[in-house]
């Protein structure tokens, strides 16, 4: 009797220890990942005189003045708009071109598929800094310097290998029989892509689109080099140009960073529901 109770208490202690271990791990990983963002959030609401002082770690007095200045007194609003246009167009171009490319590589009879995939990958191996001067000259000759189109096109091209690789592997996961069935049922390859592959690959397309969007949203070097005025600058560039001649406005930078991060975070959460696979369940085998 007492032995049994002893055992039960023992179990309780053990489960308690297990739970606290799990909570501890989750907390420390979470703190490690989200700590910087948390610090930014705290910084963004501090008064100017508290910014470079510790203590206090957490300010006694909160202010929204940084946000006010960022949203209404800086080119951030304009640059957010620019970022949106650039990232959206880069995503659309990259996904549309990437889909056709990936479909061909996954299903159509083409010689040397591994070589093509290798070449596609190798283009993204050049460090951006290596291609940036010729790219700048190219854009200037095309008359696209300091335009959203220059940045958007560059981002699309640079993220295309990622899209092609992701989508190729995603299309390959879809059963080949589905493609054959569509062909026998009367589809051209293009129609099979649009009516069968496109709807079934939605989770894959969502993932690829999200990654391209985030890449473009965060990309800094191309955006910095190819733009010269507020009318074409994207958000990361705008933030980087915040520091003035005599001081670094940490509070404003923190506020701007959060404002810029927010849309991407929202997108990730939104897309997460689409990323759930299992759409193909039930199509093949029993």
């Amino acid at each position: 009797m007492s032995e049994a109770m002893d055992g039960r208490r023992h179990d309780k202690v053990r489960t308690l220890r297990q739970i606290s271990l799990k909570v501890g791990i989750v907390l420390s990983v979470g703190l490690f990942c989200l700590g910087p963002i948390l610090w930014q959030a705290v910084t963004s609401v501090k008064l100017d005189q508290d910014l470079v002082r510790i203590p206090p770690i957490f300010p006694e007095q909160l202010t929204l003045s940084h946000y006010e200045r960022v949203l209404f007194g800086s080119p951030i609003a304009q640059s957010l708009m620019n970022s949106l246009v650039v990232a959206a167009s880069a995503t659309v171009i990259s996904i549309v071109v990437g889909t056709f490319c990936a479909f061909a590589l996954a299903r159509l009879p083409i010689a040397g598929k591994p070589i093509i995939l290798g070449l596609v990958l190798s283009t993204s191996m050049f460090p951006p800094i290596a291609v940036i001067s010729p790219l700048y000259l190219l854009m200037r000759e095309l008359g696209l310097r300091d335009t959203l189109m220059a940045v958007g096109l560059t981002h699309a091209v640079y993220s295309l290998p990622l899209a092609v690789w992701l989508l190729t592997s995603f299309f390959r996961q879809l059963p080949a029989e589905l493609y054959y069935a569509a062909r026998v049922d009367g589809c051209t390859p293009l129609r099979a892509l649009l009516t069968i592959f496109f709807p079934l690959a939605r989770p894959g397309l969502a993932v690829a689109a999200l990654l391209v969007f985030i890449f473009s949203w965060n990309e800094f070097m191309f955006a910095l080099t190819l733009t010269a005025s507020d009318s074409a600058r994207t958000a990361p560039v705008a933030i980087a140009l915040f520091p003035g001649l005599y001081e670094i406005p940490w509070g404003d930078i923190a506020a701007a960073s959060l404002v810029v991060t927010l849309p991407v975070g929202a997108l990730a959460i939104l897309f997460q529901r689409h990323i759930v696979a299992g759409l193909t369940a039930g199509s093949v085998k029993g």
């Binding site: 069935a181 062909r183 009367g186 051209t188 069968i196 709807p199 039930g282 029993g286």
Partner: protein
Amino acid sequence: MAEVRLDHLSKRYGTTHVLPDVTLTINEGELFAIVGPSGCGKSTLLNLLAGLDQPTSGRILFDGDDVTGLEPRERDIALVFQSYALYPHMTVRGNLAFPLEVTKRRHGFDRRRIEEEVQKVAGFLGLGPLLDRKPRELSGGQRQRVALGRALIRKPRVFLMDEPLSNLDAKLRGAMRAELRRLHEELKITTIYVTHDQTEAMTLADRLVVFNRGEVQQIDHPHEIYARPANVFVAGFMGYPPMNLLDAHRENQTLQAGPLGLPFSETRSSHLLDQPLTMGIRPEAVAITPTAVTGEETVSGVVRLVEPAGAGMWVTVDLHDAQDITVIGLAEVDFVPNVGDMVSVSVGRSPVHLFDRATGQRIHSA
């Protein structure tokens, strides 16, 4: 409906000849089975017929028209896949209507006409109540029916089936086999049916071809293939349990296979039997009896394996006084031998198949 002719069709992948050279004709309205072990090239052949793959050389003719270079959609064929390949994001109705939706411009079908056809096929296959379900909400047999319906709805010239029943459980498979036969009787569409299951091929097909390593072994009606296998491969592949194949030779008026001797009558072509032979005896023609029974063409042996099969029992016996000769025979219902028992094996006066041991070909005179 069409007659299908394969004219010296061959397919090579790199240096591998999957199909070296196939010539055969499938008659209009026939249910024709292609049977062979895995990897014998039968699926490749089906893909070539469907136009999903191009032959290395040779031609495919539907009713005399060369379709070799045509796209799948231009051939007017339908294909039922082993995995069903239903479109998972469409309902049953969508799946059934899909071939018509895609080709509606060519056929001049409007929405109402398509719905009519869907209803007709659904009624035919008993899918009426399932039309608004998704494939994942269906059982294996129901999915199979939808796959059939999607193939049927277009009334194709040629109906291709790639192991359509192998994903079903045994009982359902029997029922679907009967249903396929009924469908074929009613529609009379030329059907080419690929399977590795020789029982399925035997029970279902009007005629069948046995394939091995991409080569045609024999083309004939099922009972002919069973009664007169053209070579050792067909003899061993068709029928379960497989035919007993024993090395044999002629000794005056008997055919001797180890301790087993069979008399035979002299004929004109008996000289053909002077070479090394392979003798084939169907297990159902070999009687396994208690040792007490003796008589002509009887030898004794030790039971190695017993397989109950309802009406009788398949018994594998190691023959006495012989080096590694094993025979499968049928024990009568009231005789239940155990492994290790001594039994009598008698061949009786059943038909014996004789093959040239060197070439494996049937010797027709015997």
